[in-house]
Subunit: 305 residues, 2 copies
């Protein structure tokens, strides 16, 4: 990959963050919505701390680009993207808790339980998860109810016991019960893969695309989800804490089983190239319309922070 390939993509990624930041800020405002009694200030501050933290907004980008591929309504896609980012950020808040990964820093800032306290961090995560479904189900997400319900279902399943949360559970257990290679792949497909898969599939659901297109985008999401995790494991091995804005080398120190630990960095780089090729092949039918999604696959595999 040449550096030139990345320039338009990174510019596009940055361009997409403006509207998503603005919407997240609005959705996390202090004013109660219809049906709400009051939004406690400290809780809302903790939620904003956990969400409005300078994240790259990769998952929202994937929702918006996959939606654009099928000419879905951009405003609706933006709301689904914001909902997904709420789920992602809630998972980070809970993952950082002392009982879980016990991290003090996230993007160079104190984690929510450090900036506030543990109880507030638990509740802020819980409220963000509920908010995600609120955002999608709301009529303000100008989609037919059938599609809103389908998006709620797909997100709930990607986030729940059989997806992300299940993957976090397997990850906790991996320190006791060392998984084999198939176990590691399954763990990662759940822990980080499920939400990335949803991000890509969501565009097709939003647009009411054909089942074959929905499946193709979901497969694309699975491929780049795997790539994302491989790149993360490589980074944990090679990057320093300053570059990542969080503690690194923790997996190796914990003796945690990763594919990189199992097969080495060179193997991982070959695998990453294979996953990018596979992701590109899946998008072949969409031609030039999919150019940014193709670049996203390269970006995910090559990221250095």
């Amino acid at each position: 990959m040449t550096k030139d390939d990345q320039i338009p993509f990174e510019a596009a990624l940055v361009a997409r963050t403006g509207p998503i930041e603005a919407l997240l800020r609005q959705l996390l405002g202090d004013r109660p919505l219809s049906g709400e009694i009051a939004r406690p200030q400290r809780l809302m501050e903790a939620m904003r701390h956990g969400v409005l933290n300078g994240g790259k907004r990769l998952r929202p980008f994937l929702v918006m680009e996959s939606a654009a591929l099928f000419s879905a309504d951009g405003e609706a896609a933006l709301r689904v993207a914001a909902a997904l980012e709420c789920v992602h950020c809630y998972s980070l808040i809970h993952d950082d808790l002392p009982a879980m990964d016990d991290d003090d820093l996230r993007r160079g800032q104190p984690t929510v339980h450090k900036a506030f306290d543990e109880a507030t961090a638990i509740l802020a995560g819980d409220a963000l998860l509920a908010l995600a479904f609120d955002i999608i189900a709301d009529e303000a997400t100008m989609l037919p109810a059938e599609r809103r319900a389908a998006l709620v279902l797909a997100l709930a399943r990607a986030a729940g016991a059989g997806g992300m949360v299940g993957g976090q559970m397997l990850d906790l257990e991996a320190e006791r019960i060392r998984p084999d290679e198939a176990g590691i792949i399954r763990l990662q497909a759940m822990k980080t893969g499920a939400l990335i898969r949803f991000a890509c599939e969501a565009g097709a659901i939003l647009a009411g695309a054909a089942a074959a297109d929905r499946e193709r985008l979901a497969e694309f999401g699975s491929a780049i989800g795997l790539a994302f995790q491989l790149a993360d494991d490589l980074l944990d091995l090679t990057a320093d804490a300053h570059q990542m804005g969080k503690a690194t080398g923790k997996d190796a120190a914990a003796g945690k089983a990763t594919l990189v630990a199992l097969h080495g960095a060179n193997w991982a780089r070959d695998q990453l190239q294979g996953l990018v090729d596979q992701a590109h092949a899946l998008l072949h039918p969409y031609g030039e319309d999919a150019v940014l999604l193709k670049q996203a696959a390269k970006f995910v595999a090559a990221r250095n922070s």
Copy 2:
């Protein structure tokens, strides 16, 4: 209230628990659903521990009875009832955590973080919240998509920052910032009231009832939610741990502001009667069809465990 009033109600409550227990057990099974990768066994065990614990299933009962009042489909109501119980049980699991109420016992059994560990309890709660929206949004809940989306929205809003979780946040803060009477009422309307209000409103949404009926049932839910909390505060003052299956006297020991602490037990009993009268008046238009819901209001106000 005579003892005779309660007999048919308690029998009806017990009769309703059979189907709800069976459905919850099925929904919390180990077999992954379509779109799920795997359901980690330890996570599912923790979720079952937190849900299949001999709860009275009052909220499910309210969903089913309010649905029956408008002749909604019983199977759909049962699924919405199960979803609500998942939200209620997740909130108890997180509430019992050391960083929150730090309770070791719930219904005489070890709490989830005691029977498993803190990280598993956090994840089990998270997964139950996601599962609730999964259950409602699923086409298996044989309702028009518009109603499934409306139920998701109402539940998300009742559970989130402007409802139950917001109330838990205010409750945490109440130990530092002692709320005034209006503050206590708001806290309780959120912490315990919002889900009970949803339970009663859900029946009207399920059935596609008129907006005025939906509002009336929601008001009924608010009244009995207040009564529920008043009765709880009275019990905390007067019952012993054995009767409750959990620690009691904690509010008084923590100097926690409750209406009972503010005005005394006799005032609270008068208030309870007033709330029951108000709840009954709201159901007046439905005549004999609402007899069990009316008895539920009395039950909530008079419960002794």
